[in-house]
Symmetry: D2
Subunit: 173 residues, 4 copies
């Protein structure tokens, strides 16, 4: 059986708008309902709202923290990952997610979108940086209009990215 | 409600002995039975055996990979974390675990033990490097004799390390 | 005496244009002539051209590599830094540079610019991503027209960023 | 022409003894006299003493910092590398050095030695952790008695590790 899809939600911490937070919570809820795992930066704003939504939907939440202190994770995170690597943790979120949804966000989010593109991974963009205007191709920067569209498309994208068969090492003592 | 304890199992990949693998599987099983999350390096040997045991025990398994490819995770990993940071991922395992159990292992395991001590975190040592002989204090390097002793002591250690109350940011739109 | 300024040159590897490479070599030359240290990603394209220019100017070149193999550095690098952290090395370049000059470049360069902005650090932009069109403020994204303008402004920016007095620990046995 | 050897000096910060600091300064001096580059952690204690010695010897000093603030480097560092990756910077020092000399040191130094062994790289050990007693082979853990012996052997080891010809990409517009 393939593993569950892992959907990354990236976006503003202190800079998210009330609308952005509401979108993020709905996105998190729908990710959980799709039986996918939520991964995010583990802190406040969009990260906390998405995790809250995912918990309401009965899902699993992973927060990849910039600090080495798991107590920095928001209260909706099940599995805090303590990196102590500051914003280098952004790359771990991007690499680990099978698909990414961006909501609002400032330069940290911009960096995550750039790393995603650099890895050939699409970002589903919901009220965030208009990178199409800077020349990013619409196969990578995909504007979406609603949480439902964001999650449906991200899940479909993720399912295509996940190998049908597990290929890693097994263990047979 | 406090989050679940996260127990790290570190040890040999290709270098683990058949005995070490059997110990690791039992350790993983007992971690799951204690309702704790298993974190490991996600690859083969002790990492795979512990994850197999944890799945048999009904637990959740997190594998922090040195590569950027989640398909490198062993087949017992629920949540692969793709770091693409090579052995710098060792530090993420050590920081994220509330307590660590070491089984067999070569220099990678030795590095993880050193990082744990550096962070003031004990390692419960089951047939691994005899660091007491090199002068590491027995409050940090704790020899244990069985998987049961390793897991019981690690769980107790972890429970003491986890704050009773969540203190991270909440979200209330 | 304050330390020398460190100027980061970021830009395309395989994607740089012949014009971009010529600009990069001139930028590197002028950095060296200004008695500043060049830091870059250590590989090919803009990274190699800038380093070649800096050596022609008699300067010191540092290349922060994504791999763990120093032999991957281009032949103009004096000090290869082997990270084995893949694109997480981009952040080290951005943090270490006192000022950044971007020339051409694809998504890796875009990520470096985003990290610079996230750290409040300006990027002097020479034929690269038009991030002003995506809404980045012109105090951070600074369009320049020539290598001379890029280096003059970067050096001035760097000198303002470097403390006049060294404040780190000394050693007096 | 091959690049200069890069010799890493690792050891105690606040925990170094007066004897250890004096040894480190002499080691740094001899590294510079051998026309090699010194790399270290950039902070205090052994790191500062070795850098002071290298500057007295007319050498180049690189400090790979755990923080993102270059002003944290000791006053003898020419090129501070700001990682903001906490102790993950230890691995960068180990990977970048062609050979390593350890002097005194606590668990951070122990982690660096373990990472060196993991990479198949020898450590020349001067009054530091007695890892031979824990079973590390003497081809990797090499006890030395004096700064002169440490540096002579490290330089020889480094010269054998550096390719005679540069093989990285060139640039020819």
């Amino acid at each position: 059986m393939p593993r569950k899809p892992i959907i990354g939600v990236i976006g503003g911490g202190t800079t998210a708008s009330p609308e952005g937070l509401a979108l993020a919570e709905e996105v998190g809820f729908l990710i959980a309902r799709a039986d996918a795992v939520l991964i995010c930066g583990g802190l406040n704003g969009v990260m906390s709202a998405a995790a809250k939504g995912a918990k309401r939907g009965g899902g699993l939440t992973v927060g990849v923290l910039p600090t080495g202190n798991k107590a920095d994770a928001n209260v909706h995170i099940d599995v805090p990952i303590a990196t102590a690597m500051n914003t280098a943790r952004n790359l771990i979120i991007v690499r680990t997610a099978d698909a990414l949804i961006a909501i609002n966000g400032s330069f940290g989010t911009l960096s995550e979108m750039a790393h995603a593109f650099d890895q050939g991974k699409a970002v589903f963009a919901l009220r965030t940086w208009p990178l199409d205007k800077a020349g990013v191709d619409d196969s990578l920067y995909v504007r979406v209009g609603t949480p439902r569209e964001a999650v449906d498309r991200a899940i479909e994208y993720a399912r295509n990215a996940i190998p049908k068969e597990r290929s890693g090492p097994d263990f047979a003592p």
